[in-house]
Amino acid sequence: MTRYVARRLLLAIPVLFGIMTAVFVLLQLIPGDPAIALAGEKGTAEHIAQIREEFGLNRPLPVQYAYFLKSAFTLNFGDSLRTNQPVAGELRQFFGATVELSAAALIIALAVGIPAGVVAATHRAAPLDYGTMMLALIGISTPVFWSGIVLIYILSFRLGLFPIGGIIGTGIRLDRITDAYVLDSVLTGNGAAFRSSLHHLLLPAFVLATIPMAIVARMTRSSMLEVLGQDYLRTARAKGLEDRLVVVRHALKNALIPIVTAIGLQFGSLISGAFLTETVFGRPGLGRYVVAAIGARDYPAIQGTVLVVAVGFVAINLLVDVAYAAIDPRIHYA
């Protein structure tokens, strides 16, 4: 097991290397010069030349590439060109908020998606099955920026059930430790901040959860249907086990493996969805940070964000693979 994890970690290095190379190439290919962006709309030609010199933008591309890789592997991205603050600190600040939103969405997706899939499978071809799967189809096909705007309009603006946007109520102070707002308000015992940040989290987390929720529900249904047809379940029923016990303990546990895979793959779309959700709901986070950075051609910030997300993605996939072993004792890694 340890060897397996070590090997996977080693394999992650070329993956990250490839990602950083791709990012470098893309940054070179997109039109727009960072020196011009930095010098501002009214920056003079002289200023632009000075900036190019200062940031080494006039050096040969291979040299720039070497510096780019060096900063990635030493995790020293330098200061953001836009805000003048160290990129590492900014990433930490926004990472917490994005992870909290994604985690909340994942919890909602699993809490709703798995039971919905199980219900659909156990009521196969009944109205409950069709209804659930219809909802899942709608969930998969609705982009978050659309559902976000519609739900804000109805639930927040018209009905006043949720705040219209933001991450915490205006003027509420919160000492931040992890930069995940709900978690921090628990850690600091701040009741007002907890209520407010949780209230602000629910709607965006639900919106972000719609797609993974639908995918999980469909995966659970088909995986359950396969398992429910197996001989050992008939045996379990034959020996008089309660139906609920058969479904939850025997069927669901065995049906979980493909679902876990699906969740791992969903992580990527969860992150990109989080970026959109943050914008629609006006929440601070990595998504808005990187979008602003791209607009300003803030290379250190773009590089830092991409690396953090890439590492996160690799780590989640590794966790998923390791989780197989925990779920299914027949799987051994060597």
Binding site: G32, D33, I36, L38, A39, G40, E41, K42, G43, T44, A45, H47, I51, E54, F55, D79, L81, R82, T83, N84, Q85, P86, E90, Q93, F145, W146, I149, V150, Y153, I154, F157, R158, L159, G160, F162, P163, I164, G165, G166, I167, I168, G169, T170, G171, I172, R173, R176, A192, S196, H199, H200, T279, V280, G282, R283, P284, G285, R288, G295, R297
Partner: protein, 547 residues
């Protein structure tokens, strides 16, 4: 100077909301329609809502260091945290005393002596005096002792301040002097731009990185703790009870980041925000119908135009340039494309500028005259005028409809037989190509920095500005001589006459198609009083109150 564009990237989603949100909302919520809006819990969360003003912005402040901030939001925050030696009069671009109670300009225009206000302290307790002003000034002079100058971070201090000044000195504890190499009368207007906010020497000593998040000025509001600024979310500023101009009317001034323009408007409607800016024309119209809201507006300090490269064919011909001016119906353009939110232009200077000339001779809509001029220039149906019109695609403060403008102009020109082919470019590249004179003709625009006519006429059409602001590559020695004269005299009335003469010459030469000035609009709740629009797109909140 470049600002994060207040209207960037909001049109698409705004339109989406209009189509999808309104339809879905109306269908699902028949019984709830009308203005039955419930305030959400956040409105109650503030300790004392009446003593707090919440200002909704689209993008967060980048840095709270006046020398380095490069967003309009940063300017607004700095204008309230810091004071300049001189300030803009409320609602105008004329100058009033700030940290300098009074000033004298020497006869030859080469010495500016400022008598500083006494008994003022910075937020961190450091005393304000001439020594502090010298320390502040040296902090952004290239090569000065303890200078923190960095071209990438302070792109504007040279253009607006240091390049006009030879040296400075503390004459005595409360007298500060600037020595100029040559007379430059827009200097005071430049010193009122928030980049010239005077910073505490203690805060400067802490370095650029620390200062960006720990500001210390003398202004009406202060950031009490660095944690009160939650990036991309909100910045809670507290009133400075010892403010030399009198304690602010409210206890807190909060800048709240709400990226979506339509959401910003919704939040003003529910009372979560008191003031919001950077709304699309459609949102402004919606706000106008709501009795709880007030639109505060004027013709903005900007210009929206089409720039002809006068060094390239066919625009070397004055007849052609004039014909293309006559061919555009600006009034119709304003109503049709901008919901009436563009004030049609005769020339370069907007009506809010003090040198604006109401009697300027310009180009009324006259397609026959356009045809006549085109014929004189040798173009007709057999030999039509053809060229490429370059357009940017993002909304700009001076043109919130992005590239739709190019299509409209193309149609007007087509009516007089001109075939303009539209090409679009990515914004930063577009700017670079325009500076390098690669375009024949392109959409252009400008947002004024200091309200001085020099900042339009010299910056955009002076011979020295070619390839920087002057991307028409226009050069008229007569105009250049007038522009040089205008900065050498300090009497405003005299300057005004000179600028009006120069502007008339420019308009006759027609290096642009003069289109209009996008209105500057801010939405406030009806219970907000004494909110003043500053033409330079900053707002002083010290005197604003809430009833």
């Amino acid at each position: 100077m470049s600002r994060i564009d207040p209207l960037r990237g909001r049109l698409v989603r705004r339109d989406l909301l209009k189509i999808t949100g309104a339809a879905a909302g109306a269908a699902a919520l028949g019984p709830f329609t009308g203005h039955g809006v419930l305030p959400s819990e956040t409105a109650f969360a503030r300790q004392d809502a009446a003593s707090t003003i919440v200002f909704g912005v689209g993008t967060d402040v980048d840095a709270l260091d006046p020398r380095t901030t490069d967003t309009q939001e940063g300017y607004i925050a700095c204008a309230n945290i810091y004071d300049c030696l001189v300030l803009y009069d409320l609602g105008a671009t004329t100058i009033r005393p700030g940290l300098a109670e009074s000033w004298e300009i020497s006869e030859d225009g080469l010495e500016y002596t400022f008598n500083l206000r006494q008994g003022v302290s910075f937020h961190d307790g450091a005393p304000f005096n001439a020594e502090a002003v010298v320390t502040w000034y040296n902090s952004f002079v290239e090569g000065a002792p303890d200078s923190q100058y960095d071209v990438a971070q302070m792109p504007y201090v040279q253009d607006f301040i240091t390049s006009w000044i030879d040296s400075v000195e503390a004459v005595d504890e409360y007298t500060f002097r600037m020595m100029l190499p040559k007379p430059y009368s827009p200097l005071l207007a430049n010193l009122a731009i928030p980049i010239a906010g005077v910073i505490s020497p203690t805060a400067i000593a802490g370095g650029l990185e620390a200062l960006a998040v720990n500001p210390s000025g003398t202004g009406a509001f202060r950031l009490a703790r660095a944690e009160d600024w939650t990036r991309d979310s909100q910045m809670v500023l507290e009133a400075n009870p010892d403010y030399w101009g009198g304690a602010p009317k409210v206890q807190q001034f909060i800048l709240k980041v709400v990226p979506e323009g339509s959401t910003r408007l919704q939040q003003v409607e529910t009372g979560e925000l008191d003031v919001a800016w950077a709304l699309t024309p459609e949102d402004v119209e919606r706000a106008r119908e709501n009795p709880d809201l007030v639109i505060v507006e004027d013709a903005g300090l900007n210009t929206n135009n089409v720039e002809f490269n006068v060094t390239k064919e066919p625009f070397t011909s004055k007849e052609v340039r004039q014909a293309l001016n006559y061919a555009v119906n600006k009034q119709e353009l304003s109503e049709g494309l901008y919901n009436g939110n563009m004030v049609p232009a005769g020339g370069v200077l907007p009506p809010v500028d003090w040198a604006f000339n109401p009697d300027l001779q310009s180009y009324p809509y006259d397609p026959d005259k356009a045809l006549e001029l085109l014929t004189a220039a040798g173009y007709d149906e057999a030999n039509p005028l053809t060229f490429t019109l370059m357009a940017y695609t993002i909304p700009r403060g001076y043109n919130p409809v992005g590239d739709r403008l190019a299509t409209a102009i193309q149609e007007y020109w087509a009516e007089v037989g001109v075939q303009a082919e539209i090409q679009t470019g990515e914004w930063t590249q577009y700017r670079a190509d325009r500076r390098e004179g690669k375009f024949q003709c392109s959409l252009s625009g400008w947002q004024g920095d200091n309200g001085d006519p020099d900042n339009f006429l010299y910056a955009l059409l002076g011979g020295d500005s070619k390839g920087n602001g002057n991307n028409a590559f226009y050069e008229n020695p007569e105009v250049d001589a007038l522009l040089a004269d205008a900065v050498a005299v300090s009497d405003q009335e005299e300057r005004k006459t000179i600028y009006q003469e120069a502007e008339q010459l420019i308009v006759d030469d027609a290096p642009w198609t003069f289109l209009g000035y996008q209105k500057h609009q801010v939405v406030t709740r009806a219970n907000i009083t004494d909110f003043q629009l500053q033409p330079t797109y900053i707002y002083y909140f010290a005197g604003v109150s809430k009833t």
